[in-house]
Amino acid sequence: MNRLGISLLIVIQVAFSNFTAADPISGKTLFRNPEAYSFILSPNSKYVAGHFNYDDEMVVVLYDLKTEKSYALFSLDTEIGINISSLKWVDTNSLYVRLRLKFGNDRVGLVQIDFSGEVPKPQFKTIITDGYIVDPMPSVEGKVLYAKNVGRDKKRYKLYVVTEEQLINADFATAVEIDNTLTDADYYYPGFLTGEMIASTTDGDVRSYWHLSGQTKRWAKFWSSDNVEHRFVPVGMLNADTMAVLSNVNSDLVSLYEFNLKNNTFGKLLYQQPRYDILNAETDPVRNVINYVTFVDHGRIVTKYFTDKDQKNHRLLQKAFPGKQVHVVSSNDSTEHKIIFVFGSDDPGSFYYFNTKTLIARILAPRNPELEHYKLAKSDVFSNDVESGQKIESILTRPRGDSNGVLIVMPHGGPIGIRDYDFYSPEVQYLASRGYSILSVNFRGSSGFGKRFQKTGVGQFGKIIEQDITRAVGHVSEKYDFKYKCTMGTSYGGYSAVMLAIEHPLDYQCIIGMFGVYDLPLLFNASNLKLQEDYQKRISRIVGELDDSLKDVSPFYLADRIKAPLLLIAGDQDPIADIEQTNRLKYRLQQRGAKLEHLFYKGSGHGLQTWYGERHLYAYIDDFIRRHLRLNNPSGDNESSIREEESLIIADEFYSGNRIDKDNSLALRYYKKAAGYGNARAIFNVGHFYRDGHVVKSDPEMALDWYRKASDAGYSGASYYLGQIYATGKMSTHTLQADPELSYSFYQLADKQKHVYAIFNIAKALCTGSGVSKDIARCLTLLTISDPESDKGDFDDKKFHRNSIAVEILTSDGYTPEEMEKIKAFFNTELGVSTFDDKIKVVRSHPFKSILDGNVTIVTRSSIPAVRGARFGDNIMFTTEESDGKITKALVKQVWTTPAKNQDGTLITETKYRFIKLNMLQELSYRLDYDWERVEGVWKVEVFSLDDELIFEDRFKTRLK
């Protein structure tokens, strides 16, 4: 065995599984970001920069290949919505970083690393100039080729060769400007010969390619096409007049050609794969040879090398990683150092450093370390004939453990120019780990098989595409025995899932259509903007021309042929398959009394934007299939914990109504299911239904019973709530017998169960002597928040809650003057309130400029439009004689009396204590947020001292237009 084999064997042994093959995998484990994102080799091949993404932070690590030590260069808190969108070396000491911010513009900079000490020292320097690095020019130390945006409304770039310092200082005056920058270039291709440049421009459908000759110093257009079927990708210069391009202009398959820049014609064919489009290629302009080409063969990315040395290395790697796909993701020309990525359908992948001289591959990081504990299902790719010698390829993933007898046929989206791969897929692994088999088919219309293959699928909705899928289903059905078949897909896949079940009603027992299109004519009339010619043309290129025949292949018009239970999923912000597509099919099926369920996700576009959403969606899909096919739960040691987790996530969403429509009946069903597995929060939430009389008859005793069970099961929230109920004698609208002693004991239990706020309620009981002997000193000790770092919960929330309880304590009765002095002293030292007894008065006040939807509108007290978002009130300065003009804190009571009425005819009021700063203008405002507030009338604001003495009063009048 060679050294490479030995080193990799060690890695593989480390990765052995803790779980059995039959264990279902939790959605939490599968639906998450990979931990390792990318690794790039420094130009001197001494270091590797790695980009990691942990739960709460993103880290860029520098890895020293010689010492095998690693150093964190910088980290970012992902909770603030920041992401690394680009990371590349510009020279041996500097990394270019582009940070994408959720709110605001990208932040770009250079991380300059000082290697002079024992530990590399990074320094982040911001680049303020709008633009991008075209070519880091690794061969020229300290300089980059930079495209600087000089346009205003539209991006226009000028090219400069700049030093790093010039870039950081935005000093382009002293930088070298490249003559004759191509205006409107949307992309400059890096890595061509010195002095040569290739760029592209786009004008509508017309894409043009330009060459800057090193000799003439002029840009010349050498290729242009508006044919969307044409591929034309410059790869690299072969000599001064000849370039290598990937193109399908003169062939069915995308192949590697020579292209002569003198007469703008294609030259000889350099390489063509017999069956597949070439995806990518690299040439060596010095040696005038092809280094490699890549293509997708049976769903797997294949790299074909052209030199003996590369071929030998690749064979060794393939031998060391049997059954895996191996790719070089970072390397330096003609050096032995490579970063490789090894992955497969049953492996999300790992990054390795590979030395072609020593033949040792050393693992850098697995992409998803948590999955190392599981054995994933491996796919099998097969091809079968469809007609007249035409073959299609399909991917079948079967469970490693017991099969549940269900084949899920999963057509891909598109359908034109999209395809499926033999890669790791969290969705497929989720289903396979639960016993399902999954089939995906690269039907005609899919990409990677040539122009003819792709074009054959155009306008074949409900026709040859579904025929191809049906052939593939027939093929696997001959080989394996499936008791049930379901269809499931997204976008076009959603359409196809429903059409397959329409065309073969006896073959499919359930259907899941996600973000799909079901009324094809509606694609042409989804909105008035989509009636415009360009959009209509784009749709026609996929669906075919708009005419009545589209109704013959539209599920909306064929709804009476849908027999199997159907789950429809859509996003209400979907810009591609508008939710109207799904809703009209739902409407029609409801008319026909079909077995139908739906999940309409709020705020979602063409798919779900969060991993949490995916977890919810797949939990529901699995539940949907099991209910309708009456399947047993999958076996496995962790099965009940996964069922508990998934029942809870389904229940939470039906209960909150935040992401999908609220449905109390379904929420209760799933909470009870999770409660059955012993989930304490689910037990607690079941109590709410009996408390509120939702779905079940209102029954306070039953509610209390569920709350107690949840408390017994260790749920601190239940114990805390029971403490509140017995303290106040109120449970929502129900009045119960208050029991201070019982309340106190529940607060104590909640605190023991680590409830963050319970300690403050215990404090209040001690201050007021409610349910426990009065102990002011201990009460005030418990109210003191010492070290925010050691807090169990969020510091600000905790402080806010503590302050509210402190005010409740202060405004309670029954204190001796000495006790009250102690409480006031606490307010002074802990909350900064120094004024209690001094007479507060108003120095000045005036209504402020009312703000309507972000636009300042000057209003008077008497003419405020009663519209949502309107905010009105006063700016007030309070003072006391004793404050001597100093800014100090005081506490007052603020009461707003609205013109809106309660059911009993009384006016609705809002009372709250608030901390104010003396001798400083304070805003005292009301904002109209709810419909009930949009009324005409007088709004009165009153401010009282703690002794209930009126300090200030004002009135505002709203009007309805």
């Binding site: 009324d519 004519p521 509606l522 042409f524 009339n525 989804a526 909105s527 008035n528 903007l529 009636l531 415009q532 109704k551 909306f556 018009y557 508008d578 939710i579 109207e580 809703n583 009209r584 739902k586 409407y587 029609r588 008319q591 026909r592 309507l852 939807d853 972000g854 636009n855 439009p865 519209v867 949502r868 978002g869 949009r934 309805l960 237009k961």
Partner: protein, 182 residues
Amino acid sequence: MNLFRLNLFVFLLLTVSGCVTKVSSIKRDVDAKLVDGEGYLLLAVDTSINLDFIHITGTKSARLTSDDLQKGSRYILIKLPAGNYEFNKIQLSNVYNYSMKSDIWRFEVKENAVNYIGNLMVRHYDFGSRAYFELINRSSFALQYLNAEFPNILNGRTVEYGGPGEDDFFSTVRINDSEGSK
């Protein structure tokens, strides 16, 4: 300004203001009989900013007022004489207004029918003048709304798609409805 010009100005002012009728959405499901030649128009407005008015022109000029055009999403049902119309102008609650000059903003009201013309989406960005308008076809949601809120007005009337382009949704589900009642 000479007397002729002043008279002309006053005449034009009277003419313009006399033609534009302020209309408010129907709130109660009472089927007050339509005048001959009238139909109902159903429009949904989904706006990220309060609007002052939407001006529509055609067989009659009408102005939807700010009462029905608050930030948020809501349906507006009004009566109009049957005929062809178009969105003419949209005034935001700030200083900006937008003229809609294109065929894609045309719609039709048929006599004695409820004519759904689309969901008007208005998005206003930042504090500048940039705004986005689109009339989205959400016929099935409109029908659900009408069934729930205006069964009396719906009774004995057809719902038609009157927005730009063509759509057979209403006629298709109508056929199914009548099949279902057989």
